[in-house]
Symmetry: C2
Amino acid sequence: MRMEAERAEIPASDSTGVQPLRSLEKGLRLLELFNRETPFLTMTELARRSGFHLSTIQRLTATLCNLGYLKRDENKRYHLGVKVIKLGFQVMRTLELRTLIRPYLQDLFNVVGLTVNLFLTVDDEVVIVERLEKHRILQYNLQMGSSLPMYCTAAGKTILSFMGEKRAQNYLKRVSMKPFTPHTITDPGKFLKELTLSRERGYAINTQELSLGACAVGMAIFDKEEMPRGAISLACPAQHFKMETVIEKYIDPLKKASRIASQFMGNSKE
Amino acid sequence: MRMEAERAEIPASDSTGVQPLRSLEKGLRLLELFNRETPFLTMTELARRSGFHLSTIQRLTATLCNLGYLKRDENKRYHLGVKVIKLGFQVMRTLELRTLIRPYLQDLFNVVGLTVNLFLTVDDEVVIVERLEKHRILQYNLQMGSSLPMYCTAAGKTILSFMGEKRAQNYLKRVSMKPFTPHTITDPGKFLKELTLSRERGYAINTQELSLGACAVGMAIFDKEEMPRGAISLACPAQHFKMETVIEKYIDPLKKASRIASQFMGNSKE
DNA sequence: TTCTAATTATCGCTATACGATATCTCTTGT
DNA sequence: ACAAGAGATATCGTATAGCGATAATTAGAA
């Protein structure tokens, strides 16, 4: 019975008829449990968070440790192994979009003189894939590879706004809207209203919702199916820039860059 | 029979009595096949390179695609998925040594005024875990997370020099010493001689062996078992600096930093 | 077109991964 | 110091998940 419940958490592979490999799925799920909030996890914590049987955790951790994907410290806490880094950076090299769009981002950067970010969607977050930094404003040390929530970033919000009401609502069910600053939107109703507004005008704004003193405007990037896959955002310190003037002055170059990026993703609209 | 041969490639988990999970191992092995030389691989190529049965590849790729760890382009070539990035950067955040040693690397950087790199060993390569860049000299765009061969880097050579004759020889059996420049050492015998020299003086030198115009000196970092686990290196453009004077002037601060790093790794020598 | 190579789908067998349980190792409180 | 409890390891019989073979399909090349 408990076993059934466990299985239920991993939906069957539906994209193809090939049977999915359960232990591989579980192993990767386990790796994903290590994040900013919980970089160190013990066996029982892993069991609790994953829902997997403790014996399963034993086998998974042993295997992952052997391969260098997990390490264990003297307190028997596990953390991700250095080996994972190599994979991570291999992806950065591979990402076609990133290399293709880079010169255009540089152009954008030269024109606007603000921090330029290229985001891609991963699960329920956005990951910085390219970044040209102007001002050091954030509390956080953002860099390429950093992943951020969608509900408090301009990039995430514009992406969500184009995913459709249904999907946005499901997103809100999944995540908890933890307030990063007093400006963080934590009310789902209010958030959905702003998504509508964002979709209508074609861009989303973040006013100090992730980090005090930091504002941004983001425009989505679409693939060939017209689905938002990522976004480009301009970020600036709140005290030196008025968002309205930033938008008025720079929305066109931003639009241009995001359209080019969309084209690189196979989008051919207009 | 063929099955047996396949199994033989994955040695049994020996660190603990727990049985290893074959399909998890295979899945991760598959991901590791994607590297700088071969960022895109088709199913049959994967089968060839891994030695796994084609049916196995089917299952592995399907599972990994579902989870977002692999993507497939329109030509049915697979490449690593964006999801891997998140894991990669989570490691960077987690790495204790990196955060602990950072201020000391900054000190070192201020004193020497050369590019400072912190490397950790991963498999048969060294991975840049922290980097303070002074001169833009390399052909390659090195950055945090980049992985490099050991046989043509100061960091890799000093690490190898302290791993013991036996292990160094095994290393040489595994890797092919592809020449990056005319200065790259490609003769195993000559290389082993230099390792001996490096061990005796306590540091290794790289004279344009990876990239023309780039020199470096590296010192190893040891863990509590006196095993080299990484290295700190100073890099500079060859035409503006004489290696002998660099070493004479800066070997002491470099030694100091690498000793502190060793202490952070639990090493308590002297 | 035909031939070849690669990809996708199907299936029965058995090694494999499963969960339960027992043992061992800690920490914590009395 | 000892007991109690929680957590980590080891063991084991069983069911099933993953295995390889092979067939069917598609895509390219000649």
